[in-house]
Symmetry: C2
Subunit: 234 residues, 2 copies
């Protein structure tokens, strides 16, 4: 291999590595946003709420940076096969990560509302759901960074548990509202917070599906294991 | 131009046209899903609910078909400049359209719930919001099909009105719940239905932003006009 083509190959590899490192950074940021958002709500931590909301513009900027890098690689390197699949998947994965950031920022903003801060509603269900979603997200991002199809498949399978916790929480919150109209204000916000946590779980599953596809070239079944028509989904 | 290269150019153009026609078809489907979902809820039309839910697999399949076509074009044609931007944007736009389909299917599924079917809550606010969101979505899809930057900019500016209607609806529904605990069941579902309509409006705005970028190469301001921190957003 001549010196020039070695140079080209190496800088192509460097660009792919740079793309991967941007993705890992974005993954780390949305994990941090999510854990701060969960702390904001479960521990009534105002400081954490501020951090989760403040990280959002950084996440949005990274999504745009990844896209610019993808366009650069596509224009200059014309990747094929596995590399092309990886580069295209990067665009889809950053879309999911950006939405995770939005959900976390939304949870954080709601956590500051007076109705919630002063309410005495038990937050133990939300805490458990927050832990599970954080764990799934962390493993989805790990699977992405390690390009680990087995781990991706595992994450994809754990989404059902999040859906079950969400459905239980939905019923619990409606019961609180029925018991005492003063609970209606805080509980409507908690309903949306639980929904946003469930959506973070969904996006983590989407990322896992993508990682699996990028690593193997195969698509996981269209219908993944999840709560049925009768749930509180959507 | 030799016969062979004329052939290559023409089939590249054909592939781009095929991509555009798949996008237009997907856009038409999610418009239809949204109008059926609004009819399902506003006119208590069970048949419309079924149609909105049944269209979802077709929308999902089109998203995968568009991606396969994009990968084909990238691998075989190495598009540059405006064409590359269009092809990459197709992936992002189908992501938004797929989520619009999800929101519409979710509205349709909720509309069938007993609590809602038997309730006497006024649906006039929801009807107005549904009309506005359908209108924005239709114009966003038109802007996409016509690659019309001016129309895209207009759609992008109309999202504020949707947010305002959503915030008004949120307050109205909470009031109904406070008035009579029997309203709590149906109103929680209506809250999520209103939220899903608002999200369809957001995705229509995202599509408009993309169309504007693809047509002009310029990005609309990061912060678009919308309800502030004090709203019921997220």
């Amino acid at each position: 291999m001549g010196q020039e083509s070695a140079h080209i190959v190496s800088s192509y590899e460097q660009e792919l590595e740079q793309l991967r490192s941007m993705m890992a950074r974005m993954g780390g940021l949305v994990e941090q946003q999510t854990s701060q958002a969960v702390a904001a709500i479960a521990d009534r931590d105002e400081n954490a709420a501020g951090i989760a909301a403040d990280l959002d513009p950084q996440v949005d900027k990274l999504e745009r940076d990844v896209e610019a890098m993808v366009i650069r690689i596509l224009a200059l390197r014309s990747p094929v096969a596995g590399d092309l699949r990886e580069v295209v998947s990067a665009l889809k994965i950053t879309g999911d990560m950006e939405r995770i950031g939005d959900c976390a920022a939304s949870i954080a903003r709601r956590s500051l509302r007076t109705e919630l801060v002063t309410s005495r509603i038990s937050l133990s269900g939300l805490r458990g759901m927050g832990r599970l979603v954080q764990d799934n997200l962390r493993r989805a991002i790990d699977a992405m960074s390690q390009r680990n199809a087995d781990l991706a498949r595992e994450v994809w399978q754990s989404d059902t548990a999040v859906d079950e916790l969400y459905n239980a929480m939905f019923r619990e919150l409606v019961t609180y509202m029925m018991e005492d109209p003063r609970n209606i204000g805080p509980c409507t916000h908690l309903l949306f917070i639980a929904k946003n946590l469930e959506r973070i779980g969904d996006h983590a599953t989407n990322i896992a599906e993508r990682v699996y596809y990028t690593a193997t070239g195969e698509i996981l079944p269209v219908v993944r294991p999840r709560g049925g028509f009768s749930g509180q989904g959507g």
